[in-house]
């Protein structure tokens, strides 16, 4: 009987402790929700992050679920509708969640979710063939101002997406009409690159890491990067800022959780992702994929997204996409 009382007391104590530690829960398991199919960018980000977290011992297990549909909209809807049962779930997403909410392709936007952190990112870049008459962004601007129809700019995504918005933003900063950008959409970055080398397009708007790998092949040159300062991976690539055009842009990837996630769990997720950056396991994954660490945890993430939404929204309205 005494034993039982002891056990009872112990149970009570442990319950109290667990209640008391509500402000410091331990995350042992993360279920990653991937809004696209296997092999894509979202898939790689989620699986890479999970791999680093488990190998570094920060969490015990990571599970993954691919839920494609609606260009990512289905997974967002699912996470919102099944919020209560998805406290263990993190959904990966990226800049398109901002753009697609603006264009109303997604009925929801990032404010309907719990923001955890922006974890990695990529700057944008403009690339020309190595033998192009355009030596820098200024040359491209003056050709564009003379006749925008003669400057075909390609990208690996649809009109109105990042690859289109970045040159429009840059031309606008140069005082030219961003509406006149002759944007040629390709369905993949590799095909856009082939279009650049074949002379079908004059310049290519693409992600910075992809641009670096192309420039390393010696066939093309980067004439503009949207970072604040030059990036170590390509010290010869000039930023738009240093050429006198006040444009920066980051295509981020990060994680979101269910809308009514308890604040202590949110804090734990933010912490666990924050700790990940110092581990060699993460460095291996990051280097393997050529990602750039751009860490925006918690509330900083909200500020960042709100700012991005404002800039992109204004530009898209000006271009007539909204």
């Amino acid at each position: 009987m005494k034993k039982l009382a002891k056990l009872f007391a112990a149970t009570l104590a442990s319950v109290t402790i667990s209640l008391g530690s509500l402000s410091a829960v331990e995350i042992n398991k993360i279920h990653f929700l991937i809004p696209g199919g296997a092999g894509g960018g979202w898939d790689g980000t989620a699986r890479g992050t999970g791999e680093a977290l488990t190998k570094a011992g920060l969490i015990g297990t990571a599970t993954y679920e691919n839920m494609s549909g609606g260009g990512g909209g289905k997974a967002i809807g699912y996470l919102i509708e099944n919020s209560m049962s998805n406290h263990g779930t993190l959904m990966v997403n990226s800049t398109p969640i901002v753009i697609r909410s603006l264009t109303k392709v997604f009925p929801q936007n990032f404010r309907d979710l719990t923001l955890i952190a922006g974890t990695i990112g990529d700057y944008a870049a403009l690339v020309v063939p190595a033998n192009s008459p355009y030596k820098n962004f200024k040359d491209l601007v003056s050709a564009y101002k003379k006749n925008p129809e003669k400057v075909a700019i390609g990208g690996g995504s649809v009109p109105g997406s990042m690859d289109h918005l970045v040159p429009a933003m840059a031309f606008k900063a140069a005082g030219a009409d961003p509406k006149k950008v002759k944007y040629i959409p390709f369905d993949a970055g590799g095909k856009a690159m082939a279009g650049l080398l074949s002379g079908e397009i004059d310049a290519l708007s693409t992600g910075f890491s992809e641009a670096v790998s192309m420039a390393n092949s010696g066939k093309v040159r980067i004439i503009a990067v949207t970072s604040e300062k030059r990036v170590d991976a390509a010290p010869n690539a000039p930023t738009l800022i240093e050429q006198g055009y006040d444009v920066t842009f980051v295509n981020w990837r990060g994680f979101f959780a269910a809308p009514d996630l308890p604040s202590n769990m949110r804090k734990a997720y933010i912490e666990v992702l924050g700790k990940m950056y110092k581990t060699p396991e993460w460095e291996t994954v990051r280097a393997r994929n050529g990602w750039v660490n751009i860490h925006n945890p918690g509330d900083k993430f909200m500020v960042f997204l709100a700012e991005q939404e404002k800039v992109i929204g204004n530009l898209m309205r000006e271009l007539g996409f909204l």
């Binding site: 549909g69 009109p159 590799g190 074949s198 790998s213 092949s217 066939k219």
Partner: protein, 500 residues
């Protein structure tokens, strides 16, 4: 260059690398046989594992083996149960499955294996000697020419437009082109024809449509034929698993293999085309070159019609290494994934790769010879056993076919709506079959539809109109040949029908 080749030989033919090449081929073939997991997914799955090896040559040899192994294996389900798991093997089903129905499954699988082997091997020879020279050929085409090339590929439909079916075949092609417009295109920023269904926003999934059009009706008719008391193709298993090809047949397919190896390779070299269009073009060209009697056989179990796409798609897959290795441009989804592996290994594919890391460059190419032999040795002895699958009783075969179709539609998407779509397409296909509409043109139209629209849209955007058709000589030439390819057979059939 010869020093490089020798170095490559040395690297590729170490015991370790040979083992990994064989392992890659084996994994690729086995997974490639499953529907829904095309070469791209298989390679993507294998990358994290293969990076653990450490040696860049070995890793890439393994991945390349997985790639062409998957292409090799993809033809099996096309031939046996009319279930092409990937766009590049749709054309394989056109004649491979009718052959299997006639009880020649073993022969069909053998021809597919030999054609794949020859296409792959001749492709490697071309890759080895002409890769650097072909770099400029790879960037010859603009969207305008790709559009024209798609038109030539569409001419493959004429094989299904025989006797009184011309209009029906054209209607089916149009329906296929229309289905390809569902979802968001790469040209516009809005979803189209999705009926507000979110699952349709990314378009119709190829495997779901292919399984629904081909495999599901097959299961239905297997069941119905029994009820209707029709005798199926239940030949003796001895004949089914017979893989012998006679001298006459070998003579017939030899020139096809020779032509399609070169043609398929060249098409594969151009980024923006790839194995699918190579297989359709190969099919169309060989049909036009065949004698009138042989032409009648196309679509009904012609050995030439089987050898042509199988040779072409394997040669094209090898060809797609040219832009990757010499320019650093991935021409297809699979080579884009492979590019990721190169970068993870700190290698930059491109003109310098051959100079800086000749052992990597050449050992990948050299390992392909060995890999192709492995594939042949691996596959030929298995043919009788795989073919015997067809001699199992229908009550077991039907659920198997259905399971295969459903797994294919579901894997990769992880979306249960695909199963409903599969059922819908299946019912539609059964109705079309009863009404005697040919289904292959629908799938050809669908598969080529997106390339058709994208390239036409890009060319028009760039030229601000359609004047590119006459302003670019190469486009004009290709469009005229497409017109000849499509119209001549139709007129010829019409004339012969009239004479009768």
């Amino acid at each position: 260059m010869f020093d490089g080749m020798l170095l490559g030989l040395e690297t590729a033919f170490t015991l370790q690398n040979m083992l990994f090449a064989a392992l890659g081929c084996f994994i690729g073939t086995i997974i490639g046989m499953l529907p829904g997991l095309g070469p791209m997914s298989v390679v993507a799955i294998m990358i994290p594992v293969s990076l653990q090896i450490g040696d860049p040559s070995t890793t890439l040899i393994l991945l390349a083996g997985v790639y062409y192994g998957a292409i090799f294996g993809g033809s099996t389900s096309s031939i046996l149960i009319n279930a092409p798991g990937e766009a590049a093997v749709v054309a394989t089903a056109f004649d491979g499955y009718p052959m299997a129905q006639k009880g020649q499954a073993g022969k069909a699988l053998t021809i597919a294996a030999i054609s794949s082997f020859s296409g792959g091997t001749i492709g490697v020879v071309l890759l080895m000697f002409f890769a650097p020279a072909l770099a400029n050929f790879a960037i010859l085409f603009w969207s305008a020419e790709y559009f024209a090339l798609v038109l030539v590929g569409l001419s493959a439909i004429s094989a299904f437009a025989g006797k009184g079916k011309v209009l029906k075949a054209l209607m089916m092609t149009l329906l296929g082109l229309m289905l390809a417009t569902v979802g968001e295109s790469s040209l516009f920023h809005a979803p189209r024809f999705t009926l507000g269904i979110m699952d349709l926003q990314s378009g119709i999934n190829f495997v779901t449509l292919a399984m629904g059009l081909f495999a599901v009706p097959e299961a239905f008719f297997l069941a119905i034929d029994k009820i209707r008391g029709k005798k199926g193709s239940s030949k003796k298993s001895q004949e089914i698993s017979n893989l012998r090809i006679n001298l006459k047949e070998a003579k017939a397919i030899m020139p096809v293999i020779a032509r399609q190896s070169v043609q398929g390779f060249l098409i594969g070299v151009m980024p923006g085309t790839g194995a699918t269009i190579a297989s359709f073009l190969g099919y169309a060209v060989e049909r036009n070159l065949a004698s009138p009697e042989e032409r009648e056989e196309f679509g009904k179990g012609s050995i030439k019609g089987l050898a042509a796409p199988e040779t072409a798609n394997n040669a094209a897959s090898t060809g797609s290494f040219v832009p990757l290795l010499t320019l650093g441009i991935p021409g297809s989804g699979t080579t884009a994934v492979l590019l990721g592996a190169f970068i993870a290994l700190n290698l930059q594919p491109g003109p310098q790769l051959m100079q800086d890391r000749p052992e990597v460059f050449w050992s990948i190419i050299m390992s392909m010879y060995f890999g192709n032999i492995v594939l042949l040795v691996l596959n030929l002895p298995l043919v009788p056993y795989i073919a015997r699958l067809l001699s199992i009783p229908r009550s077991f075969l039907i659920p198997f076919v259905l399971f295969f179709a459903m797994a294919g539609a579901y894997i990769g998407q992880n979306n249960a709506t695909e199963l409903l779509l599969l059922l819908g397409f299946g019912v539609l296909a059964i109705i079309f079959r009863f009404a005697d509409y040919p289904l292959p043109p629908l799938l050809i139209g669908f598969v080529l539809g997106q390339m058709f629209e994208d390239n036409l849209g890009r060319a028009m955007r760039n030229a601000n109109g359609i004047q590119f058709i006459w302003e670019r000589p190469m486009t004009l030439t290709l469009i005229i040949s497409a017109a000849i390819f499509i119209l001549v057979p139709l007129i010829r059939d019409w004339l012969t029908n009239k004479r009768k």
